[in-house]
């Protein structure tokens, strides 16, 4: 009896699901038809379905850019989880707050003046400024290649937020929150905005080095800043003698997952279109991440006889960072090569770090800096086609090297100046007591996990 009822229920469900599939199919067909016809705005039907004739807004691109903006924003909590899981229990809240603070602080600065400084009219190629872009006032109803400029401004703003958040990993577990907040605000104003302007916003490097989605502007500048900060602030108490275990690798893996997904918005969104180049960027992003993770697992398998989860995500990140500057301009084969190269060289860089003994806590330079350089230089050899017609490969390589050197040198020098200023005035390095008690208790008065405390 029950069996009969069961089978009846099953067949009903079958019918319902078949009907819903049919309905879905119908929806897809009608949408496809609507899209097909939207190419020809003269027909009367399309006006009702999609847009009015002569509508200047490119809806397809706008939608993709809105999604990308969300995806890149999601990378920042992803980064908070990634970093948060890697530190010791007593620092988990403080470390996650570094990423979240960047979302808020740069979120305000970018709207106030960051966008104007980066994408305003160039002043001698050094810095942008547009009175109309101050507080995004003039951007309000502006369109840019068919998308509302506000969408572009917000999309770019997410990049400005994640870059200082990346640096925090280099000096994790040993900074004062107040000093950190001021440091990233100044870093964004004096390093990120000018660099992004030079390479993307019409500055003196625009049109020379290829940097599709931020290999130099984001990963190399943050990586080098992290290296300088880690050396300036000195190692954590007890490093490297005391073992310092990650408190929660599960959270790190989830954060890494969010980063991989978010990177589709990061790279494919950087095409600022919704077409062939978007698909190419998305494809190579996927391939490079997968290759990086595979290669790292293989290396660890041979070297340590075990593949670690932290190794997996490191390889994945190395692949993602390496493809970032190249995402729009290389074939899938190039992505495979860059992902593998990124993983191999970063693995070496991290071994070298332990030999040199400086405390880049979460390997910001070892992964982001190094893989960023690998990607920016390596893309020379895998270009789909040279964007500047007739440019020799050697000249291309020189342009790329110039981009790398300029971002690294500028970031290093100004970061050092900012570190000294902030450390001498507000104090950046945490006191010995604070470091021993942990940032959570000392800087925020909270505990990350309730389980240890029976209250």
């Amino acid at each position: 009896m029950t069996g009969q009822l069961h089978s009846r229920g099953k067949s009903w469900r079958g019918i319902v699901s078949r009907m819903s599939i049919l309905a879905l199919l119908g929806l897809c067909v009608s949408q496809a038809w609507a899209q097909g016809t939207s190419q020809a705005p003269q027909t009367a039907m399309t006006a009702a379905v999609t847009t009015a004739p002569g509508d200047p807004i490119d809806h397809a691109t706008t939608v993709w850019m809105l999604i990308s903006t969300g995806l890149v924003l999601l990378m920042i909590p992803g980064l908070a989880m990634f970093y948060g899981g890697l530190v010791r229990t007593k620092n988990v809240i403080g470390t996650m707050m570094h990423s979240f603070a960047a979302m808020a602080i740069i979120g305000v600065i970018w709207a106030l003046c960051g966008y104007a400084m980066t994408f305003g009219t160039s002043w001698h190629g050094i810095i942008g400024w547009d009175q109309s872009k101050f507080m995004l006032m003039g951007v309000d109803d502006a369109l840019m290649d068919g998308i509302p400029e506000l969408v572009f401004a917000m999309f770019q703003g997410k990049f400005a937020m994640i870059t200082p958040a990346l640096i925090a990993g280099a000096f994790a577990e040993r900074v004062r929150f107040r000093g950190y907040c001021v440091f990233i605000a100044l870093w964004s104003l004096l390093i990120y905005n000018p660099l992004a302007h030079w390479i993307w916003g019409g500055g003196w490097l625009t049109g020379r080095a290829i940097d599709f989605a931020g290999g130099t502007v984001i990963h190399i500048s943050a990586g080098v800043a992290g290296l300088v900060a880690a050396i300036y602030l000195g190692p954590r108490r007890g490093y490297p003698k005391t073992a310092m275990h990650p408190n929660n690798l599960v959270m790190t893996l989830m954060g890494a997952g969010l980063l991989w997904v978010g990177w589709f918005g990061f790279n494919a969104g950087s095409s600022v279109s919704s077409g062939l180049q978007t698909a190419q960027a998305l494809t190579v992003t996927q391939i490079a991440a997968a290759t990086g993770a595979c290669v790292w697992m293989l290396i660890e398998g041979f070297h340590l006889k075990k593949a670690t989860s932290l190794g997996f995500v490191s390889g994945m990140l190395a692949g993602l960072v390496a493809i970032t500057p190249a995402a729009g301009d290389v074939h899938p084969a190039g992505a495979l090569a860059l992902g593998a190269l990124g993983a191999v060289i970063c693995y070496g860089a991290i071994i070298l770090k332990s030999k040199l003994g400086y405390d880049d806590t979460l390997d910001v330079f070892g992964i982001h800096g190094v893989a960023g350089i690998v990607g920016a230089l390596g893309l020379t050899f895998f270009l789909r086609s040279e964007p500047i017609e007739g440019l020799a490969m050697a000249t291309r390589f020189w342009y790329q090297l110039e981009g790398v050197l300029v971002s690294a040198a500028y970031s290093a020098v100004v970061t050092l100046i900012l570190l000294v200023i902030v450390d001498k005035t507000l104090g950046l390095k945490l006191s010995v007591q604070g470091e021993m008690a942990g940032m959570d208790h000392d800087q925020h008065g909270e505990h990350g996990y309730g389980l240890l405390n029976l209250n």
Binding site: Q433, M436, G438, H444, G445, E446, H447, L452, N453, N455
Partner: protein, 114 residues
């Protein structure tokens, strides 16, 4: 043979371990515990001050032969005390007589096994 149990502030663990190692006591057991004495602590959650009933502490257990009891106690006091004068919440040391001690690997008993 004595069993020394010390309850200390979690952030003092590193120093206490080092101090014990310095007087040749390298075998310790450490656990995270919660409890309360006279000390009060204040946490902040969304601007609200909350006084927890139970505070996180660290518990150290060391088994020692009689000659090591006093050096171990001195080492723990010096390393776990907050500044010169000490502070409420620095912790306590309990010294218990220990009937027997056996090393599982070899079956050795008594002072040899400690």
């Amino acid at each position: 043979m004595k069993l020394i149990i010390a309850i200390i502030q979690p952030e003092k663990l590193e120093e206490v371990r080092q101090a014990l190692i310095d007087c040749d006591i390298s075998r310790v057991t450490v656990s995270r515990v919660t409890g309360h004495g006279q000390q009060q602590d204040i946490d902040l959650y969304r601007g609200q001050e909350i006084t927890p009933d139970l505070l996180p502490k660290t518990r150290i257990e060391v088994a020692v032969n009689d000659a090591f009891v006093e050096p171990a106690i001195d080492a723990i006091i010096q390393s776990a005390r907050d500044s010169e004068s000490g502070k409420i919440g620095d912790g306590k040391i309990f010294v218990l007589p220990m009937e027997q001690c056996i090393r599982i690997r070899t079956g050795e008993r008594g002072g040899e096994a400690v």
